[in-house]
Amino acid sequence: MTSSPRRKTSVFRRLSLCAAAIAVFLLMVPLGDADASVRPPENATAVAPPGGEIPGKPLGHVSDAEIWHSIRLGAPGTVSIGDGRAATLIQSPGEDWRLVRNGPLFDYMGYLMLATLVLLAAFFGFRGRIRVEHGFSGRKITRFSGFERMGHWLMAVSFIILGLSGLNVSFGREIILPVIGKDAFGPFSMFLKVTHHYVAFAFMLGLAIAFVTWVAQNIPNKYDLVWLSKAGGLFSRGAHPPARKFNGGQKIFFWATMLGGFSLCLSGWALLFPFEHSYFAGTFATFSAVGIDLPAMIGLPPPPYSAIQEQQFASIWHAVVAILMICMIFAHIYIGSLGMEGAFDAMGTGEVDVNWAKEHHSVWVEETMAAGSEGVGTRSTTTG
């Protein structure tokens, strides 16, 4: 196979043209600016990936441990469902709530109730039943109307039901469950839980009736300090400091019941209708406005709080106030029945013996009699 001289000349010419073109190109590129061809200009703006992550969701420089540490501390992610709370995989303060609730809170609350009962028993042993020193006169004076007593019993009965059903939430697993077993404890607790929900509204009504009925007579007056300075004569026989319809001790009990009951209603309402209220952040903001950093004083993180944190605070607060009120009610039931002769008649029949009334509410008796002896009768006594 041979090639013609004319064809060889054509190939040579093409190769020469290519070599010349390459030489011209190399001469046009300055060797000193070689890097500029691969780097952005100096005035260019670099856009970093969000959060240091490489697009496409590889781990990049973030390790598994760092991710889970953040999740453990409550760092929220993103969810496509409507409930944004689900974006928080681990609600870290919930563990603090669980430890406090199942640990020291219920321990101390249980001890407090037992201590109250022991103190009342000790007081009964020391003082005995407080008698009517002058004996029953046989004359009665109306102390509470039927409506007042209805409001009192509505509040009392509902509180006892709420107290027992609430205590089952706190202590049932330790006390009731071992006795009746798991199969019975489940439906039993469910029934008490539902009962607690509905009876709560009866308690609210009873509390409102008691407030409207008695608030005017529970405004502090000059007799209260005298009564309190003598501890109402509870520790000494023959001492009967003057009092109007309610003495200083009863007024303290009234306001503690109203404030505690109202607080129970609010925290209970927040638990009944969850994630709709932020009472604690609002309360702390009110205190903060007057210079009191309440969260710091009681060891809580500063607001704002998540919806689930508000629920946890409400749960703790509801339990604490309820058990404090249960302790108060122990004392109230004691002094209104076993502790003081003739006291139960006030809420039983609504009429008390005049001598009892003169010993414990002397000013009220004088005012009532001066008003026309209204309510004073001569019925025979049945108290003992």
Binding site: R149, Y198, F201
Partner: protein, 41 residues
Amino acid sequence: MKAFLSSIIVLLLVVIGAHFVLKPMWDSPSSSAYTGSNVRL
């Protein structure tokens, strides 16, 4: 005694009334259960 029994009757009336008013709110129908805006403890 009348006052005590009256309080029991009022208590029952309030409980029954609250039951009828609130039970539909607390019992989520299947059509709306498990949706994001209907999460209850």
